[in-house]
Amino acid sequence: MQYVRTTEREAVGRGHSRSEGFIDRNAHSLFITPVIIYMGFMAIVPFVYTLWMSLHQWYFSSPQPPLFIGLGNYYRAFFEDTRHLEAMVRTFQFTFAGVGIELILGTIFALTFNREFIGKGLVRTLFTLPMMATPIAVSMVFVIMYNPSMGVFNYFLEQMGLPAQDWLTNPRIVIPSLLAIDVWQWTPLIMLLVMAGLSALPEEPYESAKIDGANGWQQFLYLTLPLLRPTLVVAALFRAIDAFKTYDIIYSTTLGGPGTSSETLNIYIYQTGLFYFHIGYASALSIIFLALTLGMAVIANSVRRTT
């Protein structure tokens, strides 16, 4: 109402025409339209094209046009392609393990930085730095550190008398090694989100708890955690969606190797589409991947609503 009054006043003041009034009244829609057109071309058109391509079979360098096969690619993805299903399992394992560890560590760090101690500002900045680094640069440094014969990690292991490990070339240890990189880089994100949540916590429950004789651990378990739950869920959701899509770390270290032991869905889609050139099948895999990510977001959202 206030807005209408303003425009009327302006209209009265200026010796207006009808079109001027129209522009004034609908300025917000008019200004948004270019953005919507832009988003439409940049996001919606490629998505629809991918969806359309996922119904076809097409080998990229083939001179023949794409062949329509309906839901054939989807059938193959779920019922015939074991490599795809294994990649899916691995992606979920990687995501849940990664987010779980990051949540725990991030919360611990956040709680630590919630208190006052000397040098807190500096240490907190240092702890936030990993998040700022370029993922590819981080991966390259870790590759050097993980090198079985010349790397720093094996050097320390040998100093401690433990056997040297293969790290990124051992199919059993490769996922935990990659998780280490992921945790190192993204725990600060969780830490920051939880710190924000902590700073918003009210003081009164803690005072009452102290009066009632609760010790630190009880305060944490029965006060902090429940109060923090919405923050933790949001942080977990943020991180899970990104961890699910992890690509840069894996591409620049192992490219899914050795064999396929570190191949997650994103890497598999890349290999299928851009290295093996099965564009139709890769499009179908991308749509499935999108559906999975959206599904995770929806579930997490409903969990958030009920807490």
Binding site: Y59, S62, P148, W167, L168
Partner: protein, 490 residues
């Protein structure tokens, strides 16, 4: 500020950001400018020492200020003096894009681009990418048909069927036979017959060769002497015995017996000679792939076993650079790979084994023979200017310079060049010549269309050997997968 004013400011900001992003976006791919690469040490360095005889063969004089047909002759040119009437500067001012794969030969080409520019006035945006990136980016550029790549390096054993099937190659015979566009000194017949044949696909000439590709066995002379090993190895068993002896003896020094590429599809190229030495072949007489043929399995199993038992830690993750690094550091007694790596192994700036590296033919005496050529994209919009580049790369002058830099070339004149003969280790020349002559032509990869995927499938067999799993089952599965992939890639 009121609510209305705020939303107006916000919308203006959104519009502004839209405009800025639209202006900032550059539609064309911008390849790395050629002069950015400092001439890589291994290739540029060796040309200097042979100052005794003729100076490094001069190109058709770039000093000519105008497009004068009679080029000024440089003294004591070892090659035929450039004849009159070929106008190198016909396309001066044009700009072409070139994409190559990262190896010593291509680094050399990139380092010489300023000479090309001086000669022809054509600017080249050259981009050299490591294996995986090159193999992924080039087809995408060619498929787009936008003409973003004019000339590119091609390895027929890897690319030919697929690219020819897709129609990405320009037929070069019409340029070769066109007297107006071809330097009379090109001397096509001087190119090795194998290089000519390999680059002729379905009757079309798809590229001019400049790099001949054969594999040799690099070894450390001091270790071979120390353990009294006789070379060359006529069969695989004696090779394995020698590797075992050295590996066990040098374990305390952290030196591995044998190193080679171990990562996924990279194993295909270096393991091929071992398959051939075991009597196998990638495909049977009818052309069908046979990955579970017992002889093929034997060869792959031999290769994988050597890597597993006598290779350095982490060898399953080694591409060519991983293996090269190991050898440069002197951490392995033997390395089986592309012969052109000698240039890096003899470079004092990178190699610790300059004085102790030797080359010999591969165990079992079988190898692979291939050739890289420069091709022109059929979607290129500057084919004539690209043709000038193609000829220049394959020209006598460039080939001789390349040979003097210890790189394998495709020309008889280059192999006979006195500078090359003096500079490059005789042992290496012999090993290369023998290996190339007895090598299976285009045996570097199975001759199929979906080469990248089939290579990865073959990699799974070697991985099964390294991880001590059921090799026969892995080979059977690989065979089934490969057949499915080949069928789907029509």
């Amino acid at each position: 500020m009121g609510k209305g004013a705020f939303s107006k400011v916000l919308s203006v900001l959104v519009l502004l950001s839209l405009v800025i992003t639209a202006c900032g976006a550059t539609p064309t791919a911008t390849p790395v400018p050629p002069t950015a690469t400092k001439p890589p040490a291994p290739t540029a360095a060796p040309a200097a020492p042979t100052a005794t005889k003729a100076p490094a063969a001069p190109t058709a004089a770039p000093a000519a200020p105008t497009a004068a047909p009679a080029a000024t002759k440089a003294p004591a040119a070892p090659t035929a003096a450039p004849a009159a009437a070929f106008n190198w500067k016909k396309y001066a001012g044009a700009t072409i894009s070139y994409m190559g794969i990262k190896n010593a030969n291509h680094d050399f080409i990139i380092s010489k681009l300023p000479e090309f520019e001086a000669l022809t006035g054509i600017k080249v945006n050259g981009e050299v990418l490591p294996d995986a990136a090159f193999r992924q980016k080039l087809p995408v550029e060619l498929q787009s048909g936008a003409g973003t790549v004019d000339a590119f390096a091609t390895l027929p054993s890897y690319d030919a069927l697929r690219f020819a099937n897709a129609g990405w190659y320009e037929d070069l015979s019409k340029y070769l036979n066109n007297k107006d566009l071809t330097d009379p000194n090109l001397d096509y017949k001087d190119l090795w017959e194998a290089c000519q044949n390999v680059l002729t696909v379905n009757g079309k000439l798809i590229g001019l060769g400049y790099q001949s590709d054969a594999q040799v066995l690099f070894y450390r002379k001091d270790l071979v002497q120390k353990y009294n090993v006789t070379l060359p190895f006529n069969d695989l068993a004696s090779f394995e015995a020698a590797v075992k002896k050295i590996a066990e003896g040098e374990k305390a020094n952290g030196i591995a017996g044998f190193v080679a590429r171990g990562k996924a599809g990279n194993v295909v190229y270096p393991s091929a000679p071992y398959i051939f030495a075991s009597g196998g072949a990638w495909q049977d007489a009818s052309g069908k792939i046979q990955l579970n043929d017992p002889k093929v399995i034997a060869g792959l199993e031999f290769y994988g076993r050597l890597l597993r038992d006598y290779g350095p830690k982490g060898v399953e993750g080694f591409d060519v650079f991983g293996a090269l690094d190991t050898m440069l550091q002197g951490k392995s007694a033997f390395w089986s790979d592309y012969a052109g790596n000698i240039a890096t192994l003899l470079d004092p700036k990178q190699s610790k084994v300059v004085d102790t590296i030797g080359s010999t033919t591969l165990p079992g005496g079988k190898g692979t023979a291939g050739s890289w050529g420069t091709a022109i994209a059929s979607s290129s919009k500057k084919k004539e200017a690209a043709w000038y580049f193609v000829q220049w790369v394959a020209s006598k002058e460039m080939e001789i310079k390349m040979a003097q830099a210890n790189l394998p070339t495709c020309r008889t004149s280059a192999w006979n060049d006195p500078g090359f003969l003096k500079n490059s280790p005789k042992e290496w020349q012999d090993a290369f010549q023998k290996s190339f002559a007895t090598g299976v032509v285009n045996g570097l990869n199975p001759a199929v269309i979906p080469v990248p995927q089939v290579r990865d499938i073959i990699g799974t067999i070697v991985l099964a050997v390294i991880q001590k799993q059921d090799v026969k089952a892995a080979a059977d599965k690989a065979q089934a997968d490969a057949l499915a992939v080949i069928a789907a890639a029509k």
